[in-house]
Amino acid sequence: MRGKAVIAGVGHTAFGKLPGRSTVSMNVEACRKALEDANIPKDRVDAVFVKTPSSARELMYGQKLTEALGIQPKMNFALDQGGAANISLISIAIMAIDAGQIDVALVCYADNPRSGDRAIYSRPRGDDAAYGWFSTAAGYAMIHQRYLIEHGARPEHFGAVAVACRKHGAANPNAQVRKAITMDQYMASPWVVDPLRRDDCCLVSDGGAAIVIMSAKRARELGVDKPVSILGFGHGNTGWEVPLRPELTSTLAKTAAKTAFAMAGLGPKDIDVAELYDCFTITPLMTLEDYGFCKPGQAGPFVSDGCIEIGGDLPLNTSGGLLSETGMPGMQLTIEAVRQLRGVAVTQVKGAKVALVSNQGGTMHTHATLILGN
């Protein structure tokens, strides 16, 4: 299926605090901008796939969105899969197009935990709340600590991810946080849940983002400007909740990447720029290992010495990622990969031909990989 589908347009709202905006409203704005970017009318769209918002669960969310968009697509649904949902929906769109079911798909996501309800991030974790087990961050902290135990990693290894993402975000005029940090500042940032420091943790953001998917053939017929080719995708879902996971420092991200690389006929060495889901700094470190960029336990040394900064061997999260651009889970990473391959990114990687995107959700439960090329 390599190269048969393209991303024809991308759009997003402002990122940060957007009080008064419903998630449907932000989705509509992002979809309008993505359609304008693809230069196609909304009547061309015959599928709308949306990730459910985390801040406010609603039944029949997909239908509410298509009503607001004023379209009656052939296919429409909302997916509850945490942060992996955006790439999952992109994959489903591609397969539906290839199966002749649809022609043009809008894939979108919006959420407003910053100005709305963010209780989900500090939630009690079932009966284990009796032991004080609360919050999303703590689950990642538990994995982070096990990584320290198994690999003797240093705090600076995690700090290198935070420093790079914040540096890239500082250069991005759309980023929610445009403030670079030094390693000393990272080391001095307060505990959220030890071993997680504040600067290990992503932002909490309002915002929406959307992309338009169609076949490469349809994009040529419609004269779409700078379509970005989808070379590969893959999925892997780690079923166990954190305490029950036999292995904490590797996930089915490995399977997702293997599948995506096989479809693309590429390997880690072919990647020019990587946009890896960075809800917490441990996540991209483990993703680098599971994807085969380095051996298990070696991600720390791998990200040191500027390797993941612009100009390094593997520029990472070039618009700031979840740590600096926006904490919204995932779609912005695909949009930045598209900008890099169109050659219009603020932190442009010279001659970028192949970009890799990872999405994951829950506490590393769900994972999806996307490989794009120009």
């Binding site: 009690p124 703590a138 538990m142 959220v192």
Partner: protein, 131 residues
């Protein structure tokens, strides 16, 4: 302290909490395939059969990982900061979340630990200390 987040005891989990109340920890073991696990389920997650028994644990295990809370997400934990939530693997195999009691400095990967029953508002919880 009125609203301590005590477990919601159900028909499924009652044997687990009752055992702690009587001073020991139990886990489920499948009669069909011998798989052992926590927390309580209605089917074995290995062979999917609904034929299991409760088995008494030795109370011995090891620390797989841990986190330290320096701020409280619930008022009941404000006076306990900093406190440790640890992921424990029982000698019999099942894993669970719990608290590590004692000096944090003693914590290390695979540290042997042993069960300690502590009560919150009379409700028995299974916690662990260095063995």
């Amino acid at each position: 302290m009125a609203d301590y987040p005590l477990p919601q005891v159900t028909e499924l989990t009652k044997p687990y909490w009752d055992a702690l109340d009587q001073g020991h920890m139990v886990f489920q073991r499948c009669n069909a395939c011998a798989n052992a696990w926590l927390p309580a389920r209605q089917e074995c997650p290995n062979c999917l059969k609904a034929d299991m028994r409760w088995e008494k644990a030795s109370g011995r295990g090891k620390v797989v990982s841990w986190v330290v809370y320096h701020s409280a997400y619930h008022d009941a934990f404000k006076d306990r900061l900093p406190y440790v939530v640890a992921l424990i693997e029982l000698d019999e195999g099942p894993r669970l979340m719990s608290n590590f009691l004692g000096a944090r400095e003693a914590l290390r990967g695979d540290l042997p630990v042993t069960l300690v029953i502590e009560r919150e508002q009379g409700f028995a919880l299974g916690k662990f200390k260095a063995a």
